[in-house]
């Protein structure tokens, strides 16, 4: 019994770290770019969500025009208004939720 449970354990508690897009209305090109950016930012600043968010925001401003907003965190609720086709809400690393949107 124990052995079987042990076998099941790692399977169920398997940690997924790949980036998972939860919600997005961007076009594909923008989406992949933004997603890759979030991944690099979170990997670079694994222990500092503020810096990661700052990096995401700055880079997005440069690439897609001003007034981007970014939220990086493990637990938060939010209600935002964004310009259509400019929202990305994704999970990464199994515990971080990233929300990027544009609104001027």
């Amino acid at each position: 019994m124990e052995a079987t449970e042990e076998k099941k354990e790692p399977d169920t508690k398997r940690v997924h770290t790949y980036p998972l897009i939860r919600h997005s209305d961007m076009n594909d090109e923008m989406k992949t770019e933004a997603m890759e950016l979030c991944v690099t930012a979170c990997e670079k600043f694994a222990n500092n969500n503020e810096n990661a968010a700052k990096m995401i925001k700055d880079t997005m401003d440069k690439k897609f025009g001003a007034s981007w907003h970014a939220v990086v965190g493990e637990g938060y609720g939010f209600e935002i208004t964004h310009e259509v086709k400019n929202l990305l809400y994704m999970f990464f690393g199994g515990n971080v939720a990233i929300c990027v949107w544009k609104c001027s």
């Binding site: 997924h16 919600h23 637990g75 259509v84 809400y89 199994g94 929300c99």
Partner: protein, 715 residues
């Protein structure tokens, strides 16, 4: 050099003379120059030298022609010199052609040179005062010449003061560039004139005032989004996604093939969707036929079930019932020139359209109609020339041969090409020179090549063979002109002219065929003889429009003609006994009181035939029932003047189609009396084809025997 001295001495006075003359000229030009330079700013004032001659107009107009040549006219040509070497005088050919007309030493001096200084002293000028004039030059001898110029300069000076600025500006240049030598002493205080005199003018245009205009674009659309990011939500999302991935992996056990199939399907869909109309083509056709079936429901019912009950009460009469009428917009003004049922599809027939009117030839049409859709043709070919005849191949029902008014023949393939003929002969390969009146497919030849015959007014019967991609022609018979009486001592009358209008091939004997001509003759011909007729008869007085073998009896055929008659003949009754006129006389002769356009034997009986006339009537005869009168004589044409041109029996259904000269094709149902076939005796199986053939043959023979005996009896 005493010899050389002589000519030089001669030349000197000449030169002097020229110089003086040149000076006069110079004088003139100098004055001219002075005026020319300022001529664009000031009014021209002519200054005359004092010694100028006063000439009246006439004298002024007199022309002095002078020709300048490079040769010196005064140079001697006979110069002789003494040659010490040869001790004799010798003629020298080289003559000095140079003549100096004018020479003037320069009168400019450098101001620092001694001579200039001396000159200045002589004239009492100081160096300082002369500073403004960089080049001063004067020669007493020249003063007289420059007098005019001086005056001019003085006048300019007065003006120059007005525009002092300009004068000063241009002074440096003017001083250096002045072509005229100025007299420093006299013009020391004078301003030098600027030849490049110009003025500047400025003006300010009106500046348009600025105006602001603003507009606001619509702000980019926005949406709100809200969510809650918690660890458990993130975890759930991941597991859900993972499960989904697992599932897709399972599905992708044979991923390659499935994806391929998917893409293929997609491709197929896109391909078909690319051609929307063709995709709905079949469906549309079915719907169209359904609509037609509903619209013409009563006619369809008649076609299938209606039998004229009154036939039961009369033996000798029958009726025909009009069913569908086929017309096509493009064929409205054309005449139906031939009709042909499709051998495979019993409801499908082809009609060719052209014009019989020599004066009104135009385009032609080949149209395929089906009984299932009387409102619109199944397909149509438009041609540049009127189509006069067509025939559908009995074994390949998609092959259609057609003959045109321009003499060409063509083969259409209804499956392969929807726009035009597959083959068409040209003037190069055997085209007829007159309208082709009939074409007829033959059995495939030994090499399985399709082949057909055509007959035309040009007197040729041509055999066409389709070999691969070309049509090969071969003249089978030439209905040539020849002197009839001279030909045959045995009395065979050879036709005087040959304009084929119709032909028909024997049902059983492949080689035997009949040709009807415009002169009313009918020739019995064989494919084996190209210049010889087996038999000839003076069938009609006018053009033969149709010859047709009986479907059952091998010797019987009928002809129709513009001379109002339909005649039935027996071929080769007594071929050896040519003097006997029986073979030249018809067995039956029916006068239909109008030009007979077409005649056709019924496929179901050996004794029934139908004919159409130019007054719009259809006649149906059954010799078995009445040998003299038609069972049915019925007006079919819609309008009074419409001529009926052709008729054809459907091979299976009891209907006929009739074409008229206004592009209409009418289908008609034959009443039971018109299609009597032997009754099946109870308890006996139906007759097979051989029995049927025999029965029909005996039936006809019986009638014929009665007719045949008659003339003998009368005689």
């Amino acid at each position: 050099m005493p010899a050389k001295a002589v000519p030089k001495a001669k030349q000197v006075p000449e030169r002097q003379r020229r110089i003086t003359r040149g000076r006069d000229g110079d004088d003139m030009t100098e004055v001219g120059d002075g005026t020319d330079a300022d001529d664009w700013t000031q009014t021209k004032t002519l200054v005359k030298p004092e010694d100028q001659l006063d000439l009246n107009d006439l004298e002024l107009k007199e022309e002095f022609t002078r020709i300048l040549t490079a040769n010196n006219p005064h140079a001697p040509q006979n110069i002789v010199r003494y040659s010490f070497k040869e001790r004799q005088y010798k003629h020298t050919s080289s003559v000095d052609q140079l003549a100096v007309h004018f020479a003037l030493d320069g009168n400019m001096l450098h101001k620092d040179s001694d001579e200039a200084r001396r000159q200045r002293q002589k004239m009492g000028l100081s160096d300082a005062a002369d500073g403004d004039v960089p080049l001063a030059s004067a020669q007493p001898s020249e003063q007289a010449l420059n007098e005019g110029a001086e005056e001019k300069a003085a006048a300019e000076a007065a003006q120059g003061e007005d525009s002092g600025e300009k004068g000063e500006l241009g002074e440096g240049e003017a001083g250096a560039g002045t072509p005229l030598p100025k007299e420093g002493a006299a013009s020391g205080g004078k301003k030098l004139t600027n030849q490049f005199n110009y003025s500047e003018r400025a003006s300010q245009t009106y500046n348009n005032p600025y105006r602001d205009r603003t507009t606001a674009t619509e702000p980019p659309p926005r949406a709100s989004f809200s969510s809650n990011a918690t660890q458990w939500e993130i975890y759930d999302a991941y597991t859900e996604d993972f499960e989904k991935q697992e599932k897709t992996k399972e599905k992708k056990v044979v991923p390659g093939r499935k994806e391929e199939e998917k893409t293929r399907k997609k491709l197929a869909i896109t391909e078909t969707s690319g051609d929307d109309i063709s995709r709905v083509g079949t469906a549309a056709k079915i719907v169209e036929r359904m609509v037609n079936q509903n619209t013409f429901d009563d006619i369809a019912q008649d076609f299938k079930y209606y039998e004229d009950t009154s036939d039961e009460y009369r033996e000798m009469e029958g009726t025909i019932l009009p069913l569908w009428r086929f017309s096509y917009e493009k064929a409205k003004k054309l005449a139906v020139t031939s009709l042909c049922w499709n051998p495979t599809y019993k409801d499908l027939f082809a009609a060719s359209y052209g014009s019989y009117d020599f004066m009104k030839q135009g385009n032609g049409l080949i149209v395929f109609y089906t009984l299932k859709n009387p409102s619109f043709p199944e397909s149509a070919y438009e041609t540049d020339s009127g189509v006069m005849c067509l025939d559908i191949h009995p074994d390949h029902p998609y092959q259609v041969a057609a003959g045109f008014y321009d003499g060409s023949v063509a083969v259409f393939n209804t499956v392969e090409r929807k726009d035009g003929p597959v083959h068409r002969c040209t003037a190069k390969n055997g085209k007829h020179t007159d309208p082709v009146w009939q074409v007829r497919w033959q059995k495939d030849d030994a090499d399985n090549n399709m082949n057909f015959f055509s007959v035309s007014s040009d007197g040729r019967v041509v055999h066409w063979t389709i070999v691969k991609n070309e049509m090969i022609f071969q003249d089978v018979i030439q209905l040539t002109l020849s002197d009839g009486p001279a030909e045959g001592p045995d009395g065979i009358k050879v036709p005087t002219t040959g304009c084929g209008t119709a032909f028909d091939f024997h049902k059983q004997k492949d080689y035997l065929f009949l040709v009807g001509t415009e002169e009313g003759k009918v020739h019995v011909c064989s494919k084996a003889y190209t210049s010889h007729f087996i038999d000839t008869m003076d069938a009609h007085n006018m053009a033969v429009y149709k010859v047709a073998w009986n479907h059952y009896h091998p010797k019987i055929f009928c002809t129709c003609s513009a001379d109002w008659n339909v005649k039935i003949w027996e071929n080769g009754g007594k071929p050896t006994d040519n003097a006997e006129p029986t073979s030249k006389k018809p067995l039956f002769c029916f006068d239909l009181n109008n030009s007979v356009g077409d005649v056709a034997w019924a496929p179901y009986s050996s004794t029934v035939f139908a004919a159409v006339t130019a007054d719009g009537k259809v006649y149906v005869y059954d010799l078995n029932i009445n040998k003299y009168e038609p069972l049915c004589e019925q007006m079919v044409a819609q309008k009074k003047k419409t001529k009926l041109t052709h008729i054809e029996f459907n091979p299976t259904y009891p209907i006929i189609i009739v074409g008229d000269d206004r592009g209409n094709v009418t289908s008609l149902k034959l009443s039971p009396n018109l299609r009597k076939i032997p009754k099946e005796k109870k308890g006996q199986p139906a007759m097979d084809t051989a029995q049927r053939l025999e029965f029909e043959n005996t039936k006809l023979t019986k009638i014929l025997s009665m007719v045949r005996e008659q003339p003998d009896v009368t005689k």
